[in-house]
Amino acid sequence: MTYVLSTGIEPPAVPALRRLDPRLRIVSAVAFAVTAVALQSLSLLTVMLLVAVMLMIAAKLPVGQTIKRVIAMDSFIIVMIAFLPFTMEGTPIFTLFGFPASYEGLIRAIEIALTANAVVMAMLALAGSMEEVTFGQALHRLKVPAKLVHLLLFTIRYIEVLRQEYRRLRQAMKCRGFRPGTNGHTYRSFGYLVGMMLIRAMERSERIMDAMKCRGFTGTLPMTQRFELRGFDVVFALGFSVFMTAMLMKEYLL
């Protein structure tokens, strides 16, 4: 459960990486992603992947859950990676069921796999370990449009309410003997269910708006958290910038 107000003070036991200024963590994660996408050399990308793994270890992310998330991302791109050697023109290295696989395609596939995994791991380590509300407030401080930040914060707050509503409606349907099948009645009923949830969500949003107005809401949410750059933040920012600049120089200048 997240709270609309969080104290902003995280308990001291958290690893140093998670005590970095949230704004810095978001900017670092984005910079890391941009750098990783710009690199093409497989050896440099391997270094990026290693750094991402180190960041994950430094952030002390729960191992099982993190692996699950990374695998979830990999399952999206696995098909593309598997087909790439066969769809790209180039020097054939082997044939499978009469289809030639190209060396260039294989290299490209490895490059994409390395980039994607490095980016996802760095994101999880830097931005993913953050409290959702902190994330929203940090985005606000980074001048992300207030409407987008509000959307994010309200989604976090109400997604569980919607899930509960869906669950109760489904229970009530079950109570009246509903068992989904492949027929018009099932499609119609699910249509009604989705439609009713949309209408309720609309009405709920109006009620929330009214309740917020009653408490003096004028379009800006008070952002309660204070962020400040401390010594360690500056050191981290400098080190990270130097590392990424070096990577880019190696790729493009040397």
């Binding site: 009530a172 109570c175 003997g177 509903f178 009713m196």
Partner: protein, 220 residues
């Protein structure tokens, strides 16, 4: 014969601890049983266990003369025992009142014509014909309550499980609900915090305390 027989039911919520710890209950034909207990005592949980929507940690559920354990065992129970939810909005999800009432009969395999006939017959009997084509989410609180009752009655259940049906009803609608309940032949399990409503509807009462059901006077 018992319509329902629950024996030594235990149930605990993750993080919230036990709600039911050895609750037992027997419901006979003709019973109009009220269940009382403070907020969060586990009354709604008990009704959901009777219909297999929640599986208890321990204890046995017997309904209509048979032990019920697996999800499939409860399909028949849900048809023969109709639950009216605490929040009417949890139940109404179709665009119009007629659609919503027809939903149950259609699930039971009736044709659209047969379902429409049931809708008309039921609405006439409950004197709600004027709501037939009304949009469900625009009904008043009292109308919603009566319509959810109609939705459940459309399945012709043998037992009615009512979870705080008089909640948020004005006097007029409450009197109307009481009248309707008096004309119904079904056995009833009623959860209600309203003592005068219980006295009008129930002929037996159980009090849920510390996870167990104990006999209590109907009007306390």
């Amino acid at each position: 014969m018992n319509l329902f027989h629950l024996e030594n039911i235990h149930h605990a919520w993750p993080r919230r601890g036990p709600v039911l710890s050895g609750a037992s209950l027997a419901l006979k034909a003709g019973d109009r049983l009220a269940i009382t207990g403070h907020n969060g005592a586990g009354k709604s949980t008990l009704l959901k266990i009777m219909l297999g929507l929640i599986t208890p940690d321990q204890g046995s559920v017997e309904a209509f003369g048979q032990k019920r354990q697996a999800e499939a065992d409860f399909h028949d129970v849900r048809r023969r025992a109709g639950l009216v939810f605490q929040d009417a909005d949890d139940q109404l999800f179709c665009p119009t009142v007629a659609d919503d009432i027809a939903f149950g009969p259609l699930n039971l395999g009736k044709s659209r014509d047969e379902a429409a006939a049931i809708v008309d017959q039921l609405l006439t009997r409950l004197d709600l014909m004027y709501l037939r084509d009304a949009i469900t989410h625009r009904l008043s609180g009292g109308e919603k309550r009566l319509v959810t009752l109609a939705c459940v009655l459309a399945m012709e259940p043998e037992v009615l499980l009512l979870d705080e049906p008089s909640n948020a009803l004005d006097e007029e609608n409450e009197a109307r609900l009481t009248d309707i309940l008096h004309t119904l032949p079904q056995s009833i399990v009623l959860i209600s915090h309203d003592a005068s409503f219980r006295a009008k509807v129930a002929n037996r009462c159980l009090h849920l305390k510390e996870g167990q059901l104990v006999d209590a006077p109907v009007s306390a």
